[in-house]
Subunit: 257 residues, 3 copies
Amino acid sequence: MRCITFTTDFGTRDWFVGTMKGVVLCLAPRARIVDFTHEIAPGDIRAGAFALAAGYSFFPRHTIHVAVVDPGVGTKRRAIAVQTGDYLFVGPDNGLLSWALAREKIKAIHALENRSYFLPRVSCTFHGRDIFAPVAAHLSNGVPLRKLGPGCRDLVRLPWPKPTRSSKGIRGEVVYVDRFGNAITNISSEVLSSLKGRPAVFMGRKRMCAVAPTYQTVGCGRLVAVIGSSGFLEIAVNGASAAERLGLRLGTKIGVE
Amino acid sequence: MRCITFTTDFGTRDWFVGTMKGVVLCLAPRARIVDFTHEIAPGDIRAGAFALAAGYSFFPRHTIHVAVVDPGVGTKRRAIAVQTGDYLFVGPDNGLLSWALAREKIKAIHALENRSYFLPRVSCTFHGRDIFAPVAAHLSNGVPLRKLGPGCRDLVRLPWPKPTRSSKGIRGEVVYVDRFGNAITNISSEVLSSLKGRPAVFMGRKRMCAVAPTYQTVGCGRLVAVIGSSGFLEIAVNGASAAERLGLRLGTKIGVE
Amino acid sequence: MRCITFTTDFGTRDWFVGTMKGVVLCLAPRARIVDFTHEIAPGDIRAGAFALAAGYSFFPRHTIHVAVVDPGVGTKRRAIAVQTGDYLFVGPDNGLLSWALAREKIKAIHALENRSYFLPRVSCTFHGRDIFAPVAAHLSNGVPLRKLGPGCRDLVRLPWPKPTRSSKGIRGEVVYVDRFGNAITNISSEVLSSLKGRPAVFMGRKRMCAVAPTYQTVGCGRLVAVIGSSGFLEIAVNGASAAERLGLRLGTKIGVE
């Protein structure tokens, strides 16, 4: 009954995700498969990394987190499995796992090279089915990490855009836009709490809104900034999409003063 | 192996739903989690209420139905758990549960106030993860309702738009538009069967179509009204979207004569 | 713990899919339900048939594959269950199952006529809930196929558009467009390997791109054709949608020379 989660950009309209589950269930009939999300934008490694980092730690210990946002599939990019204190992570070594792993104590990293844990035929375009799903199933069956391939020293790490301090306040940027159009920034509650007084959010010179405890502090249709559920400041519109309203996207600069 | 269903407006592209499942599985590893739907339009309490009412009764006895369409999250709106003859319901007390509960015999309603059944840190924006998921998990483990908080007399009830009778026939309105563009009305098969003769659907003065037994009674691309699978009259186009064709939306008035 | 997969065009935004799962769990509480996909375009029997054929064989033996893309629901089209060497298939007899079954050895076909394996009330519009889900649950409980209804000699078969050979090369067509905008053709790797030299893809007189081993053989934003994970030649753009770029859709003719 070990959990295996999937975080992918495969969407759910084709047979890709269903097929990965079939592969797992052939090898590990009792595995508990959880769809973390399959709707990462195609090839958007940063969005996948952020989503995984935001949610992986809410799962039971020993969960195997499989993430496949893999624009380099079929090239020489490595595939890896990583053991941390509480979890296993499996995916391409392209930075996708790195923001979650930055919060974990890494115990071992192994390259996935032992083909006896893959499907017999490995395609050039669908390693989710042919490599990552069967490897996760074997891990859930107790296969030790070291059997999968040689140990590695480190993994590819996505740079995390750190917010900067100035005399005026903090400068940060949008790192994720969620389904509601809330624009999540890289400014954590810890960083924010270092500011004195009642902080407000700026775009360029323009004051946008105050930082408030909940979306409903403001009237319907009004802008507000709150510390969201992932621990970062997010810009929201009560009942509508802030990203649409303000044209916010990944990398949009914002300030807090 | 108790069932826990989720009905939310969280969508499936972010980490929200996956995280709720992780929380449940930490507390109740053997719970059977079923995605009822996560695609309720953001904040659309009526659509969530209708969907839940249309499907909840097809689940096994003792299923715990968790519904989270919660535009008031973080405000003083209550959160409740409701015991009926066959099921448990958990969600915000904003009317979301009320159309399903109107069909059930309510045995007890309790406010969710005992923080020992929540996650240790409760955010202001994501009670699905921090309150509703862990409460459902504890309920599936057998925690009695009364431990969750004080009993309540009643819950917030959404008004149900009742169809009206006139000398000419019945006047009703659209209460839900489904994925196929079928416009479901508030006119039940019971109400409809009180009409004599061969009924037809009108918008204003204009006769739109006859009431027929199946979509295929009419040719491809033609309008038809049928008693749909939820027991209400629905307006459909064979092979296309009636809502798009006729501009039908929630609240659009229709008549049957 | 027998697997039941669902392949439908019901989408996930309404209560349709959740309700089907509830019906299964009432009858077969230990069944392992897997969403193969619910995002087949409404009524697109060919897309459903292709998706099912592309993935069904990755599931454990004895899996019950339920497919419901059923524009003829409520008419006299038959409903069937089919036993093959390794699997059971359940669905409307409209060709949906036929491309998967063309790869299987069929042992028995039975019409679904015995109402004691249906829900007590069968609607005219939702046989997924009222017929196919309960039949699948009963099959997973071990009910033998012959109890469901009379045996049938054959099923409705969708024509498969075979590629044609000419002196110049092979002419085929697009049979599926996936979420990434990759256009999958009817030209299998076997057919392609019969060509000598380095094949290239043509639309009309115009050479579009070479056939390459992976998407990344070409630079970002460039066209390429590869043998995809389902074993057919597909036309892709590295990092973007080939279908959008070239206006490819079901039935678009292409050549390989």
